[in-house]
Structures are given as structure tokens and as C-alpha cells.
């Protein structure tokens, strides 16, 4: 039983007091920012990324992972009680969750959301433990041409599954790749796009870019929006435990949501948000009482909530096994690895089994802690919602500033982040998704390196990408995705998947 042995190694690492503390801290920070609208996991992880430099790499990763799945728990609380999605992944939970709350069943809705999330967390942790090792072995057999093609496929798929214009998203990837080139070229020693600024010769740190685009950019975007009125459900939450009927209707939905979320999470561009939207659509279509949806159907809470948690966690699989990030959060996790000088890729599992399995074990522990801690703490989280945004953004702004300063203890990084903040706001206004840009930024140097290696193998013949069967297959898949998304029928379906009222 290799799996059991591996899990034993993992729990050995995850159960040390320090790592338990960081899992709990991450989960609590995640819940906090999940509850608060106006700040998401990407911005938070970017802000805390420089701080993980002072931690053990394993502890740092455990905390950052905790923020990501903790945010999925927290987001549902705000969705149900305030009808405001704390996170984009809980947008659909608002629909039926808030209706349940208005019918006086807020407790049941919160409990169903937490239990469904926990169930999904358990299943997806097992999935990671089962499927990560074989995938990593496949990854280890890849050469430079295969890796290059895999990254092309990953980037294209990330764009196709995300919402918005595909061409704009591909352009954003190229922009990210270009920003990733800033600095010194490791192969030739020449500097690129540094504008003669000394601080740029070392390249731009992923934390600086992400804090600017997501942290500062979001603040500006939020401040330009009219203030939302927050319709807080004020009546006391009396009955927390769902009824027997709730249970009977919720568990099949949680099962379906977990399955769907697990699959969509692994795909590039997938992850929590897409999983939640897809799960809601599935529940609504397959339900025997579709008329109840929008009026407090418990399946409409259990399905998406299990799906977003499952999707959040299985999106770690390609990052951990192949070193390919499927979404912006995973791109930042790769940034965290490289801060510590760890090369992301399939060798992590064999070279650092303690870190690999420790992180997986901590995910399950973190989920357990979340479900135990969060239900009693809901009262406190709700109180936090009364903090108005005019205080919140000042705190976020300050933590962004300190976070980016500590990246390299340089004022230049802060100025750069301010510039990226304005850029991030412009992108939001022009409906250019910034997430693909971060993926391109992180993969850029790796792609160039593998392109160069592949060209050296083939003596400069680009046909090598088509002559190697695995590489050819990956490129055909990328092309097929591009063609598919251009078909009108698929295009309208894709737009539909992200619209749910």
C-alpha cells in the first residue's frame, strides 16, 4: 500500500505544530477574505507571498493553499446571509442560498454548504493522492518539445474555459509572456525591456505583478463602483442542522457537484468558479422540481458549494505534478516555489516527498478544521461584514504596499506595483481578463527555455514539435480547442455557462 505509506509521510509533516498552525492560519485568513467582498484569494495570496519567504517552503505552501480553499468556505457565508458573493466562485450560491436564508433557513443553508464543501474536500484530497503520482511519472518522461507543447495546450485551454473574448485572452497571455521576459536573459546574458532601470535587470517578481494587477487594480475598480447596499439577514440563526428532507435532497447534489468540480478543476482554466457555475446548471437541469430553483432549493447550495471546493483542490494536480498552473492562484503557488529556489515540475514528488504529501495531508486537515471551526464562528464572520469598504480598502492598500516592499526591500517594486495597479484597472474596464496574463508571465521563462532546448535537440528544425507523437497530440488538442470555441454553437453555450440569473 504505497498510498497509505505516502499519506503517513504526509500526515507526519502536516501534523507538526508549526504546520498545523500555518494550515489553520491560512484557512482562517481564507475564510476572512472569502467572507469579505472586495478582496479575493488571488490578491491575498499575492500580498502574503513575500512573507512566505521567511517560512519553511512547506509551511508557506500549506498556508497559501489554506487561503485558497478557505476562501471557498467563507464565500458561501456572505452569499447566503447577505446575497453578495464574497468570491466569484460563490455567485451561484447566492441564488438559492439567500432565498433559504430569507425563509428562515439560513442555518440549514450554511450547514449544507459547509458539509458539502467538506465532503468535496475529502474526496478531492483522495483524488490528488491517487492521481498525482502516475501523472508525475508521465511528466518525468517528457522532454523539452513535449513540455513546450504541453504549456501551449495549457495556456490555450485556460483561455477557452475562462469567460470573455478568446482573442483578447490570448493577447493577454502574450502580454504576460512579454512581461515575463523583462530582465536578464539567462542564456545570452543580454538585458531585455529594462528601460535602463537597474532594478528591472533581475526581472519583475510575480508578487509585484499580482499585487498590482489584482490587489491595487481591484481597489480602484471597487472604488469606482456605486456602493452596494448590504441586505444583511439579521434574525438569529436558530436551527443550524438541516432537516431530514434537506439531507436527502442535498447529498446526491453534493455527490454530483464533487464529481463535476473534481474533473473541471484539473483542466487548465478550470478551478472553483467554472465548477460552481457548471454544477448549478447541472442541478437545475436534472432536478425533478426545477421550479424550486431560485426559491431556496437546497440542491442549488449543495451542488455548487461542493463543486467549487472540489475544483479549487483538484486544480493543484497539474501544478504539483507537471508544474503547469491552471489558474492564477496556481501561478502564484509556482511563484512561491521559485522564491524558495524549488523548480516546479514532476521531480517535486520524488525529490521532496515530505513537502508534496505534507501539503496534501494538510488540505484534508484544513478542511476538517474549517468545518469544525466555521459553523460556530459564523456570528463573528457576519459581524465583520459590517466593516465598511472605506476602511477595508485602506487596510488592503497598506498590506499591498508593505507586501510588495518586502519582496525585495526596494521602493522600485512599490512604484512598479502602483503602475500595474492602474494597468489592472484599465484591463478590467476594457474587459481584458488579467488571469491569463499571470499564467503567461509565470510560464514565459519556462517556455522560452524549453523552446531553446527543443531547438538544440532538433538542430533548429521546428518540425520537431510535430514529429514527436506526444508533442503532436498536445498541439492538435490545442488547435482543436481553438477551432471548437470558434464554432457558433459552442460559443453561445460557453457564454451561457457563465450567465445564471
Amino acid at each position: 500500500m504505497e498510498l497509505l505509506h505516502n499519506l503517513a509521510v504526509g500526515f507526519g509533516v502536516a501534523l507538526t505544530p508549526a504546520n498545523l498552525f500555518f494550515a489553520l492560519t491560512g484557512a482562517l485568513i481564507g475564510t476572512l477574505i472569502g467572507v469579505l467582498p472586495g478582496i479575493g484569494p488571488i490578491a491575498t495570496i499575492a500580498m502574503l507571498l513575500p512573507l512566505t519567504f521567511h517560512l519553511e517552503p512547506t509551511s508557506g505552501l500549506i498556508m497559501l493553499a489554506g487561503i485558497f480553499y478557505g476562501a471557498q468556505y467563507g464565500g458561501s457565508t456572505t452569499a447566503i446571509l447577505v446575497n453578495l458573493p464574497g468570491e466569484t466562485s460563490s455567485v451561484v450560491t447566492c441564488i438559492d442560498g439567500h432565498q433559504m436564508a430569507r425563509q428562515g433557513r439560513a442555518g440549514a443553508a450554511l450547514a449544507v454548504a459547509a458539509l458539502a464543501s467538506f465532503f468535496a474536500g475529502c474526496v478531492s484530497t483522495m483524488l490528488i493522492a491517487t492521481f498525482a503520482p502516475p501523472l508525475a511519472i508521465v511528466g518525468q518522461s517528457f522532454g523539452a518539445p513535449e513540455y513546450f507543447s504541453l504549456m501551449v495546450l495549457g495556456l490555450i485551454a485556460a483561455v477557452v474555459l475562462a469567460h470573455g473574448s478568446v482573442i483578447k485572452a490570448i493577447a493577454m497571455i502574450i502580454l504576460g509572456l512579454l512581461i515575463g521576459l523583462v530582465g536578464t536573459d539567462g542564456n545570452t546574458g543580454g538585458t531585455r525591456f529594462t528601460f535602463g532601470i537597474i532594478e528591472l535587470t533581475d526581472g519583475i517578481d510575480v508578487a509585484t505583478l499580482a499585487i498590482g494587477i489584482f490587489g491595487i487594480g481591484e481597489i480602484i475598480t471597487n472604488l469606482t463602483r456605486p456602493q452596494e447596499s448590504r441586505a444583511l439577514v439579521t434574525q438569529k440563526i436558530t436551527r443550524l442542522w438541516p432537516t431530514r428532507e434537506d439531507f436527502q435532497r442535498a447529498w446526491p447534489a453534493a455527490l454530483r457537484g464533487t464529481a463535476l468540480g473534481s474533473v473541471l478543476g484539473v483542466l487548465p482554466g478550470g478551478g472553483a468558479t467554472l465548477s460552481a457555475f457548471a454544477a448549478y446548471a447541472v442541478e437545475k437541469r436534472s432536478s425533478k422540481h426545477p421550479a424550486q430553483f431560485g426559491h431556496g432549493a437546497v440542491e442549488g447550495v449543495a451542488g455548487p458549494e461542493s463543486a467549487n471546493n472540489a475544483g479549487a483542490q483538484t486544480s493543484f494536480i497539474p501544478m504539483l505534478t507537471l508544474g503547469i498552473p491552471g489558474n492564477a492562484v496556481m501561478a502564484l503557488m509556482i511563484g512561491a516555489l521559485t522564491i524558495h529556489g524549488i523548480q516546479p515540475g514532476p521531480q517535486i514528488m520524488t525529490e521532496r516527498p515530505g513537502m508534496f504529501w505534507g501539503m496534501i495531508a494538510s488540505m484534508w486537515l484544513g478542511n476538517l478544521m474549517l468545518v469544525i471551526i466555521n459553523l460556530p464562528l459564523i456570528g463573528i464572520w457576519v459581524q465583520l461584514l459590517k466593516v465598511p469598504y472605506r476602511f477595508l480598502y485602506l487596510a488592503i492598500l497598506l498590506f499591498c504596499g508593505i507586501g510588495v516592499y518586502t519582496v525585495s526591500n526596494s521602493s522600485a517594486a512599490v512604484l512598479l506595483a502602483a503602475f500595474f495597479g492602474v494597468l489592472g484597472y484599465v484591463f478590467t474596464r476594457l474587459e481584458c481578463e488579467p488571469a491569463p496574463m499571470i499564467l503567461g508571465f509565470v510560464l514565459g521563462p519556462l517556455m522560452e527555455e524549453n523552446l531553446r532546448r527543443a531547438m538544440r535537440i532538433s538542430s533548429g528544425d521546428p518540425m520537431i514539435f510535430l514529429e514527436r507523437p506526444i508533442s503532436l497530440g498536445l498541439l492538435i488538442a490545442a488547435l482543436a480547442l481553438c477551432v471548437l470555441v470558434a464554432l457558433p454553437a459552442i460559443r453561445s453555450k460557453r457564454e451561457e455557462a457563465f450567465q445564471e440569473n
Binding site: L223, L394, L398
Partner: protein
């Protein structure tokens, strides 16, 4: 274009330009051209021995093509799509003050220390919000100073100067 009677012409130009995709396309094309210009002297090399400029120039050409497509699509759709209204453009206040507060923070932290630079960041940053409440903001600043001192200096032991260094 003369000012005055011919206000019709700049008006329609503006309406054609003020579309998301048109502006996005122009942005991409602009960045691509800037990149091509900046990398004009980078050695390109060959596919076998790629120089510093090989990948940057390749990417810039792709971006130029994509930007052009976005631009053309935007112009074609411009007849039907709603232009960006003046409300979309009224964001100057957060843009200026959020950016300024961060720039001031970055420039001052090494010389003035954490406490004073936080005060500056909060002071300038609070102007970005619609309503300004000096007393509340002052309290918030004190809380945030205490919080950051506790977390970053006491807790994490970061080497950031706390007070001005003369």
C-alpha cells in the same frame, strides 16, 4: 479639424474610439509596437542559437496581429455596441489617489520609516473614496499602524525602519 462649428467630427471619432474592444486593440498594438522598437537592437540569432531578441520579437509580432484583429472586430461592432459613457471615465479620483498614496509610501518608507509612511498612505489614500471622514480615518490609521507594527515588526521580524532615520 476646427474647433467650434465642426464639433460633429471629433464627436463621432470619439464615439468610434470609446469602445472597449477598440481601445483594447489599440493597447495591444501599442505595446507590440513599443516592444518591437525597444528590441530593435537585440540580437535575433537563429532558431538553433536564439539571441536575446528572438522570442521577444516573435511575441511582439503575434501580439501585433492579435491586437489588430481585436481592433478590427471592435470597429465592426462599434455600430451596435454602447460606447463607454462618461460615467465609465469618471474614475480619475480613485486612480489618482490610490496610485499616489502607493507611490508616496514606496518613496517614503526607507527614509521616514513605517509609522510616518503609513500615515501618508492612509492620508492620501482616503481621498480616493467618495466621502471623506477625517476622524474615522485618523482612528483607522492608528489601528493599522498598531496592526502592521505587531504583524510585520514584532511577529515576522522584518527589517523595515519604524521611525525616520536621520
Amino acid at each position: 479639424m476646427s474647433i467650434g462649428g465642426q464639433s460633429q467630427v471629433p464627436h463621432t471619432y470619439w464615439h468610434l474610439l470609446a469602445r472597449r474592444d477598440v481601445l483594447a486593440g489599440l493597447l495591444f498594438v501599442g505595446v507590440a509596437l513599443l516592444g518591437l522598437w525597444l528590441s530593435r537592437d537585440y540580437p535575433i540569432g537563429t532558431a538553433l542559437r536564439m539571441g536575446t531578441g528572438y522570442v521577444p520579437r516573435l511575441l511582439c509580432w503575434i501580439l501585433l496581429g492579435l491586437g489588430a484583429v481585436v481592433l478590427v472586430q471592435g470597429l465592426r461592432a462599434a455600430q451596435t455596441e454602447r460606447p463607454l459613457s462618461s460615467a465609465d471615465m469618471s474614475a480619475w479620483r480613485p486612480v489618482i489617489f490610490v496610485t499616489a498614496s502607493l507611490v508616496i509610501f514606496g518613496l517614503s518608507i526607507e527614509h521616514l520609516g513605517l509609522v510616518l509612511s503609513i500615515l501618508l498612505l492612509i492620508g492620501v489614500g482616503s481621498v480616493a473614496a467618495r466621502e471623506l471622514r477625517p476622524i474615522e480615518t485618523g482612528v483607522a490609521a492608528l489601528v493599522l499602524i498598531a496592526l502592521s507594527w505587531g504583524i510585520f515588526i514584532l511577529g515576522l521580524g522584518l527589517t523595515i525602519p519604524v521611525w525616520p532615520e536621520w
